[in-house]
Amino acid sequence: MATLTVDQRRARDRANTWKEIKSNRWAYLFISPFYLLYAVFGMFPLLYGLWLSLHVWDGISPMRWIGIENYAKLLVDDIWWQAIGNTIWLFAAATTPQLALALVLAFIINSSYIRGKEFFRAAYFMPIVASAVAVSLIFTSLFGQRYGMINFGLSFFGIEPINWLNSRQWLKPSIALVTIWQWTGYTMIIFLAGLQSINPELYEAARVDGATTKDVFRHITLPLLRPVILFQVVLAIIGAMQVFDIPVMLAGGTQSSAPGGTGRAGLVSMVLIYWTAFKYTQFGYASAMAFILFVLIVIFSLGYNSWQGGNPTD
């Protein structure tokens, strides 16, 4: 063996690798469907989307190369930036209270003094199993200005009827409220699972040392749950930047000729992309929007991650 030359050794290694590959051919076959499908329906669209964004194309006539002109146009497109602004507004207004409320609820329900955990878990979780389109139809009725149940309820507190869905001022809060209603229970369940994996002895020890509930929450629960929270925030960013179902349905539906409703207050980026591509047939321009949105998502999630994820406490 020791007398093998470098070339011979390389040849032997190659033969070994080849033998290993051959003996594992079934494994390659088993995992291959994902890679084949991803090549066609994942990877290729990614590159083709980038290519499209450098063209003018109505979907029928030949594509015309225009370089980065779509991107240049986007930079000064007020409607696009309004849509981005709306999207970020909705992310902040819907996600922040949702995460905070979910965290508090998970903490309470995880406590040993609460009975009926199963009931509360199931009740809070219910909204997420419902179709967002169906949920939007229900809330469209609940949000009715003159006869809606929500304004009726508010009237008992002396609050004047609010024009929830047809005013510039209230459309976004309405969308945020429905989003919070639908997603808080889900987020709570994730946090609850994270809490249940925290070693109970830590709580015992804290109690023996005379820690209050507040201390336990701040100094044990929060730091140990940090990775789970971090991950949920990143997922929330990715999800919220691409939100479509609830905004499109609350702001006039899919046949609307004025996407985003009154004053385009409910126009999120995904809705604008959808309309630009499939209603106005500007495939190139819409692809540029999609790519910018993609880049923003990557920047926000990586940015958040390095801001918050930098110093692990455990």
Binding site: Y38, L142, I273
Partner: protein
């Protein structure tokens, strides 16, 4: 970070711990009552829209638009139903939704458990790299693929068919990841080796030995997959043109645009889309919740 954290989440989800962790005293009876009041109030908020949906399905617009709004069931369920099936092919859409979601789920279970098994129980050259690539694809936002995917479906002549709703996702990264994690811990390597020594074919090992052991993981993935497909909206909205092929969410979205249509009819349509999943959920909420917890990766 992601992998270990997910494993923790999975473990916690797999068996919800009975006795609880926090031994810290929360508070005295008054504060406890306030806490229960708060929890109960939120549970009511979560449930109320569903109750409102059921009640409103049984009223005509004239009754719904009155003060106070109806809080109890009315007599108009049948009228609303007749209007609903006149406005859109409701039963057709329901059957389409069931067929697409079921077919998709069955295929996902097969291809994802097969792929997960491949990654969990074989040591082949390139395994780490291929798996890292698979995980990385999970982080790519879908928006970038929407327009080009539509163009590709046009090239393939798949517009207005069910293919685009089913085929691209049947071997998906999330499902393979989830199955691999489970198979890794639930299927002993010895069992696979023993079967191999007995001369069992590789596919037979997967089918006869692995599948029976991993049914809990399959059930969780099935729930997630079915629910996701059932509620899927944007992609089918884009693909389906012929009303006869609509899924429920797409059919429902057209109700929103029918001018002057009855509110009770719209809400009844929503009821039809929500109730099948909601009933399954209420019957098996524990399995549902653990399935979703595990799916938090998505």
């Amino acid at each position: 970070m992601t992998t270990t954290q997910l494993e923790t989440t999975q473990r916690a989800a797999a068996k919800p711990r009975k006795a609880n962790n926090q031994r810290d005293r929360l508070a005295g009876p008054v504060v406890m009552a306030l806490i229960y009041g708060f929890l109960g109030f939120l549970a009511l908020l979560a449930a109320f829209p569903f109750y409102y949906m059921l009640v409103t399905s049984t009223h005509r617009t004239a009754e719904i638009l009155s003060i106070p709004p109806p809080m109890w069931f009315g007599p108009s369920l049948m009228v609303n139903y007749q209007d609903l099936i006149a406005a859109l092919p409701f039963w057709n859409a329901l059957i389409n939704s069931i067929a697409i979601s079921t077919l998709f789920t069955v295929l996902v279970l097969f291809f994802c458990s097969l792929g997960g098994y491949g990654f969990a129980k074989y040591r082949f050259p390139g395994r780490e790299g291929l798996f890292a690539f698979l995980l990385a694809t999970l982080m790519v936002p879908g928006v970038i693929g929407l327009i080009p995917s539509f163009v590709i479906m046009n090239w393939l002549n798949w517009l207005d068919t069910w293919n685009p709703l089913i085929i691209p996702g049947i071997a998906n990264a999330f499902g393979i990841f989830w199955m691999r994690q489970y198979i890794d811990s639930a299927v002993p390597g010895d069992m696979v080796d023993a079967a191999r020594i007995d001369g069992a074919h590789e596919f037979r090992i997967y089918w006869n030995i692995v599948i029976p052991v991993i049914t809990p993981a399959l059930a969780a993935l099935a729930i997630l997959t079915f629910m996701g497909k059932w509620n899927d909206f944007q992609w089918p909205l884009l693909i389906l043109k012929d009303e006869a092929k609509y899924t429920l969410p797409v059919a429902l979205s057209t109700l929103r645009s029918l001018r002057g249509s009855e509110i009770g009819v719209q809400i009844l349509g929503a009821t039809g889309a929500i109730m099948p999943i909601l009933i399954v959920f209420l019957a098996a909420s524990r399995q549902f919740i653990s399935g979703i917890t595990v799916g938090s990766m998505k």
